[in-house]
């Protein structure tokens, strides 16, 4: 369908694909981007929080016209049992700065904007086009792609696989393994619409300010999982995600969990009277450092969720995606400018550059956490939250019991539930996995 040869083909128009395509096109490379959705963003799902710094490195003046919802001034972490939550809140007026640090976004709208920037930078963007296969030459180097459009063979020096967590191309071509049930979480989300002022009242916000709540505890029914409530301008994104392996083992239904979360006494008042306009589901890479596949080869690199680049501990995904897309583009541009071919030997530059960035350094820091949380999910997501809640209630309720007896009762409850040895070993393992 397209006769010409491109410097690079980017498969996918999510965060990593758009970052890669924009970076290369704005530096004069001839870029073709292929997206299977009707428009960029129509297949993409995220919570979603967007980190300004990582986008600033790609589009410094993005604040001028990007569709941003609210900049975040408050983050709450809730540990929940069935009727209560124990929370840590951090709120600071420092986040009301000229160039705010984090924003909530709505991905379909944000990705449309990003895609427009990619086109304006000079890339050719073809939507409604599913890439079906990688084309290789006699030496097994990837030299192009086949699509589901007629006559769809297109050639390029390098293919950037930005195809997302469930990308078929790379796995079918044997470039990486399919994600394992224990290394991906299934998250479901609803969009709850409310007037701006109602959201601001309920969360104690001024116009433009945002608040996020992330919640762990009995809401995940013993599975390793996280619930979230993000404030957008006139909607609330509310969802919950748990490991696919845990879902399969427990046979829990994600929409049952979501409905239970919505009716939790701590959540229900926040969304009361809202109109739900969308229900979405998506996988999130949770395997961390140990799940990262081979990142480059002859004629190809892989970026973003497809490369499992997601920091589950800090719930940073899109910024790792954007950064890996940008770095892959910069590596390709360097090779181009030095007239080096896009071979495995040369594309190692992408990995070297990524290893030196926060992306791999952060993932390496938490390399043992996924396994720890996976094997201890019931303790970390049910037993401890329940114990914390009971201890807090014991502490708050004034009923004539001497305080010393209350303290003893709380300590005894922890020891009864996990034993002294269990508590110590959980604590030690958590500290070692964290540091």
């Amino acid at each position: 369908m397209i006769e010409e040869k491109f410097d690079a083909i980017v498969v996918g128009a999510g965060m990593s694909g758009n970052a890669a395509a924009y970076t290369m096109a704005s530096h004069g490379l001839k870029v073709l981007q292929l997206e299977r959705g009707e428009y960029a963003g129509s297949k993409n799902v995220q919570g979603a929080i967007m980190y300004a710094n990582m986008l600033e490195k790609i589009i410094p003046d993005f604040r001028d016209d990007a569709p941003l919802e609210r900049h975040l001034v408050e983050q709450r972490l809730w540990v929940m049992d069935d009727t209560s939550h124990t929370g840590i809140h951090y709120r600071s007026d420092d986040f009301n700065e000229a160039k705010p640090n984090r924003y909530t976004i709505i991905r379909a709208q944000f990705d449309k904007w990003f895609s427009r920037k990619v086109r304006e930078a000079g890339a050719t963007v073809l939507c409604e086009t599913t890439v079906t296969e990688l084309i290789r030459d006699a030496k097994d180097k990837v030299v192009g792609v086949r699509t589901d459009r007629t006559g769809g063979e297109i050639f390029a020096d390098v293919v950037v696989l930005a195809e997302g967590v469930s990308g078929l191309l790379g796995t079918r071509a044997g470039l990486r393994e399919m994600p394992k049930p224990k290394s991906v979480a299934l998250a479901v989300k609803e969009m709850h619409f409310l007037p701006e002022e109602v959201i601001e009242q309920r969360f104690g916000l001024k116009a433009g300010e945002g608040c996020v709540i992330e919640a762990v505890g009995t809401i995940s029914r013993g599975m390793a999982g996280l619930g979230f409530v993000y404030t957008n301008k006139e909607s609330i994104s509310l969802g919950i995600g748990c490991l696919v392996s845990d879902f399969a083992a427990t046979m829990e239904s994600p929409y049952v969990l979501l409905d239970a979360l919505k009716s939790h006494p701590s959540i229900r008042p926040l969304i009361a009277g809202s109109e739900v306009k969308e229900y979405a589901a998506h996988l999130i890479p949770e395997g961390g450092y140990k799940a990262i596949p081979q990142l480059f080869g002859d004629g190809w690199v892989v970026v973003g969720d497809a490369a499992q680049l997601n920091n589950a501990v800090h719930r940073e995904g899109s910024n790792l995606a954007m950064t890996s897309g940008r770095i892959a583009a910069e590596a390709i541009m360097q090779l181009k400018s030095r007239m080096r071919p896009m071979t495995r030997q040369n594309l190692v530059l992408y990995k070297i550059m990524l290893d030196n960035s926060f992306v791999i350094k952060d993932l390496k820091k938490y390399k043992d956490l996924p396994a720890l949380l996976h094997t201890n999910s019931r303790n970390f997501f049910t037993t401890y939250p329940q114990l914390m809640s009971q201890a807090a209630q014991n502490f708050m309720r004034v009923d004539g019991t001497p305080k010393i007896d209350k303290e003893k009762a709380s300590t005894a409850a922890f020891i009864k539930a996990r034993s002294r040895w269990g508590l110590l070993s959980d604590a030690v393992r958590l500290v070692f996995a964290w540091r």
Partner: protein, 97 residues
């Protein structure tokens, strides 16, 4: 179970889809008795696309599929399902995402 079923239909009703009639992008391979993972899909699929028929086999109606890939992760490697993306432009179309 029936309560959950009616709720999921209400949820999916909010979404926009362009269904590629006659070209289901996911197929379940004929089987006598479903494996544990295949059976789990009747509960775990967030769009409740998978259901047990009266012979105890798992069937799929992929119309409400949100293309999350959960069933692929659980059942593609074993060959129990055949999983593809819908043709370009078809399938779920998120308004918000």
């Amino acid at each position: 179970m029936t309560i959950a079923a009616s709720r999921i239909e209400e949820k999916l009703f909010q979404n926009r889809y362009l269904v590629d009639s006659g070209r289901a992008h996911i197929k379940v391979r004929p089987h006598e008795k479903p494996s544990a993972n295949l059976r789990a899909l009747t509960r775990v699929c967030p769009a409740q696309c998978y259901e047990l028929n009266d012979k105890g086999q798992v069937e799929i109606t992929a119309d409400g599929c949100m293309e999350c890939g959960t069933c692929r992760v659980l059942c593609e490697a074993s060959g129990e399902i055949e999983w593809n993306y819908p043709r370009g432009g078809f399938g779920v179309l998120f308004k918000f995402g």
